[in-house]
């Protein structure tokens, strides 16, 4: 757990990662970075989230790293993706999936209370 001792207060680090930084990374780089950060106890906030196939890969890799009494997995919350279905794209038969903000943290420290299309309520515990 990445907790900084500061005058007997224990803090949890949150990293906010911009869309442009994510855009420079290969899918596996993103997934590795997210898992490494989360395993060290940090909460990660991704400005533009992960592509759906990257989310699936993240779930898959998380499963390979689960160890009893050490790492029980991740809590990941993202808003539902949005489809870009403009008239022109419909004519061309091309729709694109727009991913949205995503929060990821260790399952034993991040807990989602409520989630809907446009709001995520979560608590972080030490």
């Amino acid at each position: 757990m990445s907790q900084n001792k500061n005058n007997s207060q224990t803090n949890i680090q949150l990293d906010f990662i911009s869309e442009s930084k994510l855009a420079q990374m290969a899918p596996m780089e993103k997934i590795r970075m997210v898992l490494d950060e989360v395993r060290s106890g940090k909460i990660i906030v991704l400005e533009r989230g992960l592509a759906p196939d990257e989310e699936a890969k993240l779930i898959e890799m998380t499963m390979t790293e689960i160890t009893p009494d050490e790492f029980s997995g991740i809590e990941i919350e993202s808003y539902p993706t949005e489809q870009n279905t403009s008239f022109l794209r419909k004519i061309l038969g091309k729709t694109t999936t727009k991913t949205r903000l995503t929060v990821i943290g260790p399952a034993d420290h991040l807990k989602t209370i409520k989630k809907d299309r446009d709001m995520i309520t979560a608590i972080v515990t030490k």
């Binding site: 592509a51 759906p52 196939d53 989310e55 699936a56 890969k57 779930i59 898959e60 998380t62 499963m63 390979t64 689960i66 009893p68 029980s72 997995g73 991740i74 809590e75 990941i76 919350e77 993202s78 808003y79 539902p80 993706t81 489809q83 729709t95 999936t97 991913t99 399952a107 034993d108 409520k114 989630k115 809907d116 299309r117």
Partner: protein, 205 residues
Amino acid sequence: MVINLFSWVKRLFKKKKAKIGIYGPPNAGKTTLANRIVRDWSGDAMGPVSHIPHETRRARRREDVIIEANGTTVMLDIIDTPGLATKIDFHGFMACGMEEEEAKRRAKEATEGVIEAVKWLEDLDGVILVMDATEDPFTQVNVTVIGNMEARNLPLVIAANKIDMQKASPARIRGAFPQHPTVPISALEGINTDQLYKEIAKRFG
């Protein structure tokens, strides 16, 4: 006689085959639904069900299940997948009464099951996403499965399951994912499954 033979040959060649995965979080009723579909159309069953999460830890496939609805015949390979999850803690199984060793073994098998379910996503023609209508529909599992199907332009039918329970709210699911067809059902009681078969024939046929 000739006309009957002609119509039979025509129907035979109209049959389309699609590989359909039954997905959802643990305990949504995936295997109960898979059993219902397979029993209704081939008189058999797919696997055991349990109230303990992650009962299905290996994907099961049933080939050539023929469904007829709305004048359309579809031939499906049905894959009943293990429940998708982002976390698996063996303590949860101990809370269901398992010994520590058994709970750890089940947790390990459950992680392997999730990996198998994720890998199947890449090899499907469509998905029946089973949601527990008594629960909040905005789970990450639902969001991830829907996102993957949309990104690949593949058909998806949402089965809003457990409508036999008082707390069920299929309207909440429909409101959450209005872009996809949602059919309220009870896989356990067989309620509204005819409507689901019509939607399956329409979307996967």
